[in-house]
């Protein structure tokens, strides 16, 4: 079982996660809708989760998967708070466009 899993080099997982992570970063950079940006961040976290799970399996160590749970917890909490903030802003500005909010500056 483990052998068959490990027939895939761990490198593949690392690269896959990296690519997904960078796609998330890319999304953060090019999107203006705060909700989509938040989703991209979720994608980044998922890339991390995937890698953690892979490491966990390869290392036969449960800590990695435990960490994934905690990340999920945090992601959920962040999503709740973040969406709350977005709603609050939307109420005031009728928009979720992040580039409209640039009144605080030097």
């Amino acid at each position: 079982m483990l052998e068959s899993i490990r027939s895939i080099p761990i490198d593949y997982y690392v690269y896959l996660s990296t690519v997904l992570f960078v796609i998330g970063v890319f999304g953060v950079l090019i999107r203006r809708n705060a909700i989509v940006v938040l989703m991209c961040i979720e994608l980044m976290l998922n890339a991390v989760n995937l890698l953690l799970a892979a490491f966990s399996t390869y290392l036969s160590d449960a800590q990695g998967q435990i960490m994934v749970f905690f990340i999920m917890v945090v992601a959920a909490a962040e999503a709740a708070v973040g969406l709350g903030i977005l709603v609050m802003i939307y109420r005031n500005t009728k928009s979720t466009d992040i580039s409209l909010l640039d009144n605080l500056k030097n």
């Binding site: 690269y15 796609i23 890319f26 809708n33 989703m39 709603v87 580039s99």
Partner: protein
């Protein structure tokens, strides 16, 4: 046998992730992201982390993404209202992200070493095993996560509720 599955799932996840990022309609983005999550769940199963896969689907696809979708609907955001960045800006974002990818991959290349223990078992991802670890060594963070939730809850209420005094 495993490798083709992995590659397929990887391709799906990357493709849907890209579509999520590039799609003009935020609702589509949500849906693409859910697809990505499913692909990732597939990877979890492939890694023999079934419990994780289930939780993943429930929490992400089931809860978080629904929350996103719900907010999108609530705010009535769609393709028409979706603000778009200029091509120039997208290009520079692409270049930045691309360079990050290049540097990351370049740095990692050839340097990925995982020390595989002798007495490894494939069972780490099973509920029993995870539960043991979670409620012994990791019981403190588990409890601490409670504080986090409480704080997040209070916070969400604070920003969300209408001000009574006014």
């Amino acid at each position: 046998m495993v490798l083709p599955i992995f590659l397929t799932l990887a391709a799906i996840s990357i493709l849907t992730a890209l579509l999520m990022v590039l799609s003009k309609n935020p609702v589509h983005s949500v849906l693409y992201l859910i697809l990505t999550f499913f692909a990732i769940a597939g990877q979890y199963i492939l890694l023999n982390a079934q419990f994780l896969a289930v939780v993943h689907i429930i929490v992400y696809a089931g809860a978080i993404m629904v929350l996103f979708l719900f907010v999108l609907m609530l705010l009535n955001l769609s393709k028409e209202t979706e603000p778009q960045k200029s091509a120039m800006w997208k290009l520079s974002g692409g270049i930045a992200a691309g360079m990050l990818l290049v540097t990351l991959v370049g740095a990692l290349r050839g340097g990925i070493e995982v020390t595989i223990p002798e007495n490894a078992s494939g069972k780490v991802g099973l509920v029993e095993n995870l539960g043991m670890v979670l409620f012994t060594d990791f019981v403190v963070p588990f409890e601490i996560a409670g504080i986090l939730f409480l704080a997040a809850m209070v916070g969400a209420v604070l920003v969300g509720k209408r001000d009574l005094q006014v």
